[in-house]
């Protein structure tokens, strides 16, 4: 599995907010993608958009709610089309499946189109360990592969890199003259990868959707690398999470409307490719073998918890990232694993272990912008609350990892607030405690514990002599008589 650095969220996010280049990249990307998304919604009208969202959500509810049935139907129909389905309980198993295909077929070169699940598995390293040359072919993925980094966005993996950095990288790693002209850089990638596509024995893709009715894998792309990966090599391996299955081919229509618009504001992407089994005998070209690897790797934990199940409806459009005020400021890498942003803050803790990702559910203001943007109406804030509850109060001590200080504060706060008399006493004590740092009714910079974290950048009003309750008792209570 890919390396997990979720424990470092606080430090990583602190470094990120201080990096003006990252702030620019993620802030403007957010605004750019999100503006395009809003324009696309206005074009179809918000009313129609709501109908689509509702329809998509119903499909996902049904599909995920009967997932075993549709996976079985899918498996049958992939087999009927001449392909093979392999099931993997975890990352190791998934990697072993692909390794076995590589070993028995003598694969030397593999090209990959974008697959977040393969990032999750850390598949490239495993294949490289077997002597396979693996080439990422999505331009963004190619860049981060050359840079030996990880994606920072679900849709635009190299969002964190400037054109200058990419130009330097290409010059260093590909031996081309330095040019930060973006068209020229795209041309360089085209030339570098064109021959790889034709040399590759194996093409690896993800899947945006799997159609149970027909055994079809669907990928939604813009560059054409996905088409090449699924068409040129003699073996095609699709790797995907088990939640991607939808019942009928007709269900695709609404998702093809929602996904591109939510991701990039496009009415449709340049390409949608639908793969049903390997090439037929009479076909001109296409892979001789089609393998579909369906991965659990922790997803059944999300499935099992009714409060978290809807996270499996996600279509990975990235809209919640683009609109998230936290993601816009800390970027993708701070989240410490493959899936960043609001949806990542739900999925990551369950997939890598709640105890080592406890910052993620907390690092949100619960502003709800993600829920509003989600094309399948996933209620992300509610799931963040659920995870916070697990961290604070789960009967399972592995999951209950909120700090003792937090628990103590919570109990203290509840105790005081439960007794108006105690609140009065606390108020007096509080006024005394801040008296020395109060000027003109305001508390400025303070070194008091807790308070200092607020007052580093903001003043705080000191509690005035009378609370509202006092004023009511003294003056207002007689007003209506």
């Amino acid at each position: 599995m890919a390396e997990v650095t979720t424990r470092d969220f606080a430090a990583a996010s602190r470094a990120a907010v201080q990096d003006p280049q990252l702030r620019r990249a993620f802030g403007s990307a957010g605004a750019g993608f999100d503006g395009a998304r809003r324009d696309a919604i206005d074009e179809v009208t918000p009313e129609v958009w709501e109908q689509w969202r509702q329809q998509a959500r119903s499909i996902k509810e049904h599909a995920v709610g009967n997932l075993d049935y549709y996976l079985e139907l899918l498996e049958r129909n992939v087999a009927a089309a001449g392909g093979q389905v392999h099931f993997a309980a975890d990352a190791n198993q998934a990697n072993a499946i692909v390794s076995e295909i590589v070993r028995t077929r003598g694969v030397k070169v593999a090209t990959k189109s974008k697959s977040m699940v393969s990032e999750e598995l850390g598949l490239n390293h495993v294949l490289e360990g077997q002597g396979v040359a693996v080439f990422e072919t999505d331009l963004g993925e190619y860049i981060i592969q050359l840079a030996e980094e990880t994606p920072s966005h679900l849709v635009a993996p190299a969002l964190h890199k400037t054109r200058g950095e990419v130009a330097r990288l290409f010059a260093d790693k590909l031996g081309v003259p330095y040019s930060d002209d973006i068209e020229e850089m795209a041309r360089v990638a085209r030339v570098a990868l064109r021959q790889k596509f034709l040399d590759a024995d194996m093409g690896i893709s993800g899947a945006n959707f799997l159609v149970a009715e027909t055994g079809t894998l669907v990928i939604v792309t813009n560059e054409g690398n996905g088409r090449l990966c699924t068409s040129a090599p003699r073996i095609h391996v699709g790797i995907t999470g088990m939640e991607k299955v939808i019942p009928s081919m007709q269900d695709l229509a609404v998702f093809l409307r929602l996904l591109p618009r939510s991701a990039t504001g496009q009415r449709i992407t340049s390409y949608v490719s639908m793969v049903t089994g390997p090439k037929r005998a009479a076909d001109e070209d296409g892979p001789e073998e089609f393998h579909l690897v369906i991965v659990d790797n922790g997803r059944s934990r999300l499935l099992r918890d009714p409060a978290l199940r809807e996270s499996l409806y996600c279509i990975r459009c990235g809209a919640c990232l683009n609109i998230c005020p936290v993601y816009q400021r800390v970027g993708g890498h701070a989240y410490g694993w493959v899936y960043p942003g609001p949806i990542g803050s739900i999925v990551t803790p369950e997939l890598v272990g709640v105890a080592q990702a406890k910052d993620l559910p907390n690092a949100s203001t619960l502003c709800g912008a993600c829920r509003e943007a989600c094309p399948v109406q996933i209620n992300i804030p509610r799931m963040l609350l659920h995870l916070r509850h697990e961290l604070a109060e789960s009967p399972d001590s592995q999951r209950r990892t909120a700090s003792d200080t937090d628990a103590l504060l919570a109990r203290g706060f509840a105790a005081v607030m439960s007794k108006p008399l105690l609140l009065k006493v606390a108020r007096r004590l509080g006024r005394l405690a801040v008296k020395s740092v109060t000027r003109d009714g305001k508390i400025g910079r303070s070194r008091l514990p807790f308070l200092s974290r607020w007052t580093a950048a903001r003043d705080l009003p000191a509690p005035p002599a009378r609370s509202f309750s006092d004023i009511w008792r003294d003056e207002l209570s007689r007003g209506d008589r």
Binding site: S13, R14, V17, Q18, R23, P325, V326, R329, V330, N362, A363, S364, T365, L366, C367, G368, A369, E372, R382, L385, L387, R388, H389, E390, A392, E393, A402, D406, A407, A410, R411, F413, A414, M417, S418, P420, L423, R427, K442, R453, W454, A456, A457, R458, D459, L460, P461, P463, P464, R466, S467, F468, S469, D470, I471, W472, L476, S477, G479, D480
Partner: protein
């Protein structure tokens, strides 16, 4: 046929207003009474429990929520001058008590009667407008000092309570107020309760951007329906000594010049 105007409301003051901003509460009461609404203030109320609920401590949150139910079970209408606390009571109490049928029933019943402050004003004014043109709307701003006001829609009010237009309509109809556009108005200010002190480096960035937007708007006053957000925004304005005031919408409506 419009509903008759609400005549009676029980005030839940919120702990921030009670402890730190009592003047806001006074403005709330005055604004309602001026419209002929009888206001009472049920005894024994403290906090709705949201800080605890948001931190995941539901057992403690329930202790406080039950106190709110006890105090407001019998009220005709509950008015809350906060979208955040209003959302807690209207929306999240039902999640909190999902497994406790009796409390869930009480929470569901109360949720029907919870009004955020501007929701109640809108309903009162709407009923009044239907009966006779409002004096306020007929008043001219000529000669009066007009305050340039930027409205920050707080997140829970906007997205949990679904209040989008109402506060702006109230501000636009008020004499002595000129509403200016706030860029990226619907972006969170970065308060988020404990978030502000748990992740101050992120919160402060969001806050700085919000303050920048307020400065760009040219407003002399920034207003909102939540003192949490305004404590946060106003705290930064005060620290930087900027010529902008942060005031609750009840204060602006009660006394625009302040």
């Amino acid at each position: 046929m419009t509903e008759p105007a609400p005549r009676r409301a029980s005030l839940f003051i919120t702990c921030i207003i009670d402890q730190l901003y009592p003047d806001v509460g006074v403005s709330v009461v005055r604004a309602l009474r001026r419209r002929g609404v009888m206001v009472d203030f049920p005894a024994g109320q403290t906090c709705c429990g949201q800080p605890l609920y948001n931190a995941g401590f539901t057992a403690e949150a329930k202790r406080l929520a039950v106190r709110v139910l006890d105090a407001f079970d019998d009220c005709e209408r509950m008015v809350v001058p906060s979208g955040s606390c209003g959302a807690m009571i209207r929306v999240f109490y039902q999640d909190l008590f999902a497994d406790e049928p009796e409390l869930l029933r009480r929470a569901a019943a109360l949720s029907e009667r919870v009004y955020e402050f501007t929701e109640l004003l809108t309903e009162v004014d709407g009923a009044a407008d239907a009966a006779a043109p409002s004096d306020d709307a007929a008043q001219s701003d000529a000669g009066a000092d007009v305050a340039a006001v930027a409205y920050h829609p707080s997140c829970h009010l906007l997205r949990e309570m679904g209040v989008r237009r109402g506060p702006l309509d109230l501000l636009e109809a008020a004499s002595g107020v000129s509403v200016v556009d706030l860029p990226d108005a619907e972006q969170c200010c970065g308060f988020g309760g404990a978030f502000a002190v748990k992740y101050p480096h992120i919160s402060e960035q969001m806050l700085a951007d919000k303050v920048e937007a307020i400065l760009q708007s040219g407003a002399a006053t920034v207003t909102a329906c939540d003192m949490g957000c305004l404590m946060h925004i106003g705290g930064a304005i005060s620290r930087r000594g900027l010529p902008v005031r942060a005031r609750h919408i009840a204060q602006v409506l009660d006394d625009p010049a302040g």
